[in-house]
């Protein structure tokens, strides 16, 4: 059934209601699905962190039993990493990347839907563990042999493995989509050297995922086989080695942190130029330093293992690699500061969050360098010093950048601006709360407090700082409430945004807010890095270009209707089949055949469906 939108007729099998959302293959819809789901997981992960802080707020506390505490902190880490930051970045990427490169959609719309549904079902599968015998309780990096059936007798770790594998399918498939989309669907004239930096970082991130995730997949499969089929990979008394887990895991785990931060770098690299009203300083350096970080990230994994008894020479090698990787990161920071310098700053919420990001990431980066110093690492690893470091880069870094991205692109996605004053309010409460929560953790680590302890005695002098941190955590919670309030009221009554509320530089701001289903009536041609800016302000253009920076043919020049892929049930069916198979693998292996059959049926349907 064709519908007319503006001048362009389109086909759309389902347009409204649940059916639309279950079958959508449109990148903008899927982006929204990702963002909303990820934030729901964020709230759950946040509640988990509040429980942790309540338990640790005073010494010898009995609010949470050790068993429950261990499940909560395991799920907190797993949720924030796999079910919040990664999907949020996928959500932004999905919504924004095609717009930024002048494409109509991602290269493989149904694959895109599949990546979302497998993420969602993977997350739900993981959380169902609370109701089915207990959540995983061995920490988010699940060191063997604590994860064996002897020491983790509930199904919790099986849920962890299968949840990770399932969300891993989603990430892999999503990354394949990004790679092909970014490499192949750029608008005419948009060479790689003209691509927005957000797209660069998303591309590198996608490659990292594709090359790092398989190591986790292997580790997780081996763990599942050990737990359920007696395969002694990590069991020392049968010749296995717990360190095999650590190497396989961290070979993924270190690139994983770059997966979590590079898209954030990308967001900052878009927000700063827009709100400083000038180009990014050192585009090439920012782009290539991202690539360098992508490569180098694979060479440093054992810096998570300095205390396991490796040869000191090996320690030294990983140490120097870890220092080397600090160089491209510092370059970016200086480039960002230089982008601000000389700008005519539009001091809106996205900019404020971006500045907060840089300020916090500097701290996280410095504590990271200190962790790379092996003798220091011997003292601070596995203490609250590491917890401080990781939260400065993941929260102070990624999460602040995520909020910058939300305030920045919310108007594009919804057509309405978020309230800027509430945004500033959220920022300051969050900034104070964040530093109050996590800065003292550096000190606690230096004062000897190990991580992952459910309680502590009052004779160590850790009481006051822990209490302050708990207060800080609830302060952050208040900031998040301000955020939620802002979102809800802005959706209803926010100021209309128009196409280009920030006087932007890149292609997404040329479309309406929200963009039409087909994004661009006709695919634009670009000749500079800031095609929209250069079109608006040719006198301020920095790149020499004889041809106009941006050419957007009129809609009447379109050759007939724009074909948009119709919705499809097969992605969600396949994801469901996978979930059935995985549940069966935990509880009754033969039934997994049913899941396999469903997946197979889904694939057949998919293949036979007209594109």
């Amino acid at each position: 059934m064709a519908t007319n939108v503006g001048a362009l007729p389109m086909e759309r099998r389902y347009e409204t209601g649940i059916a639309r959302w279950l079958t959508t293959v449109n990148h903008k819809d899927i982006g929204i699905l990702y963002l909303v789901s990820a934030f729901l997981f964020f709230f759950v992960g946040g509640i988990e962190s509040l429980l942790i802080r309540l338990q640790l707020g005073e010494p010898n506390n009995t609010l949470l039993s050790p068993d429950v505490y261990n499940q909560i902190f395991t799920m907190h880490g797993t949720t924030m990493i796999f079910l919040f930051v990664m999907p949020v970045m996928a959500g932004f990427g999905n919504y924004i990347v095609p717009l930024m490169i002048g494409a109509r959609d991602m290269a493989f719309p149904r694959l895109n839907a599949l990546s979302f549904w497998t993420f969602l079902f993977g997350g739900l599968l993981l959380y169902s563990s609370f109701l089915l015998g207990g959540a995983p309780n061995a920490g988010w990096f699940a060191y063997a042999p604590l994860t064996s059936t002897q020491y983790a007798p509930t199904h919790g770790m099986d849920f962890w493995v299968l949840g990770i594998l399932m969300t891993g399918v989603g990430s892999t498939v999503g990354s394949l989509n990004f790679v092909v989309t970014i490499l192949n669907l750029r608008a005419p004239g948009m060479k790689m050297s003209k691509m927005p930096l957000y797209v660069w970082q998303q591309l590198v991130t996608s490659f990292i995922i594709l090359f790092a995730l398989p190591s986790l997949t292997v580790a997780a499969i081996l763990l599942f086989l050990e737990r359920n089929f007696g395969a002694p990979f990590y069991l020392a008394n049968q010749g296995g080695d717990p360190l095999l887990w650590q190497h396989l895991f961290w070979f993924f785990g270190h690139p994983e942190v770059y997966i979590l931060i590079l898209p954030a770098f990308g967001i900052i690299s878009e927000v700063l130029p827009t709100f400083a009203r000038k180009p990014i300083f050192g585009y090439t350096a920012v782009a290539y330093s991202g690539v360098a970080i992508g490569f180098l990230g694979f060479t440093v994994w054992a810096h998570h293992m300095f205390a396991v008894g490796m040869n000191p020479i090996a320690d030294a090698v990983f140490s120097i690699d870890s220092m080397i990787i600090a160089v491209p990161t510092s370059i970016k920071i200086f480039n960002w500061i230089a982008t601000i310098w000389g700008g005519k700053i539009n001091f809106k919420a996205p900019f404020l969050f971006a500045v907060g990001f840089i300020a916090m990431f500097i701290i996280g980066g410095l504590s990271g360098v200190s962790l790379a110093v092996v003798p220091i690492n011997f003292q601070v690893t596995d203490t609250y010093y590491v917890v401080a470091h990781l939260h400065y880069v993941l929260f102070g870094g990624s999460v602040f950048a995520i909020f910058a991205g939300i305030y920045y692109w919310f108007p594009k996605i919804t057509g309405r601006l978020m309230n800027d004053r509430l945004g500033h309010l959220q920022f300051w409460i969050q900034f104070v709360g964040f530093n109050l929560t996590f800065f003292p953790m550096h000190i606690l680590g230096l004062l000897g407090m190990p991580r992952r302890i459910y309680t502590y005695g009052s004779q160590y002098g850790w009481d006051t700082l822990n209490l302050l941190e708990t207060i800080g955590a609830f302060t952050i919670a208040m900031a998040i409430l301000v955020f939620v309030w802002n979102v809800v009221t802005s959706l209803r009554r926010g100021e209309k945004a128009g196409n280009d509320p920030w006087d932007g530089q890149t292609l997404e701001w040329t479309t309406s807010s929200p963009p039409p289903a087909y994004n661009f009536a006709t695919i634009p041609t670009v000749h500079t890095r800031r095609p929209f800016w250069d079109q608006k302000y040719p006198q301020l253009a920095t790149e020499k270009s004889k041809t106009p920076a941006l050419v957007m043919p009129a809609a009447d020049d379109a050759h007939g209707a724009v074909h948009l892929p119709a919705g499809s049930f097969y992605p969600i069916i396949i994801a469901l089949g996978l979930a059935v198979a995985f549940y069966a693998m935990i509880f009754m292996l033969p039934l997994s055949l049913i899941g396999v059959v469903i997946v197979f049926a889904g694939i057949i349907g998919w293949v036979r469906e007209p594109r």
Binding site: A107, F108, T172, L176, N177, V179, V180, L183, N184, L185, R186, M190, L210, F211, A212, L213, P214, S215, T217, V218, A219, I221, L222, L225, E226, F229, G230, A231, P232, F233, N237, Q238, G239, G240, D241, L244, L248, F251, H563, V607, R608, E609, P610, R611
Partner: protein, 198 residues
């Protein structure tokens, strides 16, 4: 992938490679990392079994060498199938695709025999570290071969419906890429596990 009939003109791509070809190459690159993890695990765990059966006794090269030859031949038939359709020989395509699938199934049968022999020697996922690493590595490889055979079946089905032509045979190229990858992985596994006894 549905009928790649010319319903909608395929837009030119920035790199000049078809999207689907790019995605298969990229996917294969990721799978390389997956098998690297399994192979490395096999190698570093070699010699650490605390109990038998040990690979020195349990593994026999002759049967598996034949099996390797079969899989290698299937790559040859796959190439032949592709070159057939490149010449427009639809019948040749179908014939050589069937041959490839049959050889693939033969390989899998050979693996089944090898696995059964090993089971009878007491090797299994839980018997010892050798059993665990061996069956995981070769098992996942076998699964990949099986998926390949199914993929060939899909392409064959389309070929029988007349949907694969001289101008439109990307599907054959893609399944061929995947098939050769699976073959190369096997060559490495065969070398590491059976020949070099690493």
């Amino acid at each position: 992938m549905s009928d790649i009939a010319a319903e909608h003109p395929i837009e030119p791509t920035s790199l000049g490679i078809d999207n689907r070809k790019l995605v298969v190459w990229t996917f294969i690159a990721s799978e390389v990392m997956f098998f690297t993890g399994l192979i490395v695990t096999y190698i570093v765990m070699r010699g650490r079994s605390t109990t038998g059966p040990y690979p020195e006794e349990a593994l026999s090269v002759p049967l598996v060498a034949i099996n390797t030859f079969i899989l290698l031949s299937s790559s040859f038939t796959m190439v032949t199938a592709l070159s057939a359709i490149q010449r427009g020989d639809a019948r040749g395509l179908r014939r050589w695709l069937i041959a490839t699938a049959v050889l693939g199934l033969l390989f899998l049968s050979g693996q089944a025999v090898e696995f059964t022999t090993l089971f009878n020697d007491g090797a299994s996922l839980s018997s010892n570290l050798f059993g665990a690493t061996f069956f995981t590595l070769t098992g996942f490889h076998g699964m990949h071969v099986f998926v390949g055979v199914i993929w060939i079946a899909f392409v064959l089905a389309r070929a029988f419906r007349g949907g694969v032509t001289k101008d439109n045979h990307l599907a054959v190229e893609l399944v061929g890429l995947y098939w050769h990858f699976v073959d190369i992985v096997w060559i490495i596994i065969f070398t590491v596990v059976y020949l070099l006894r690493m």
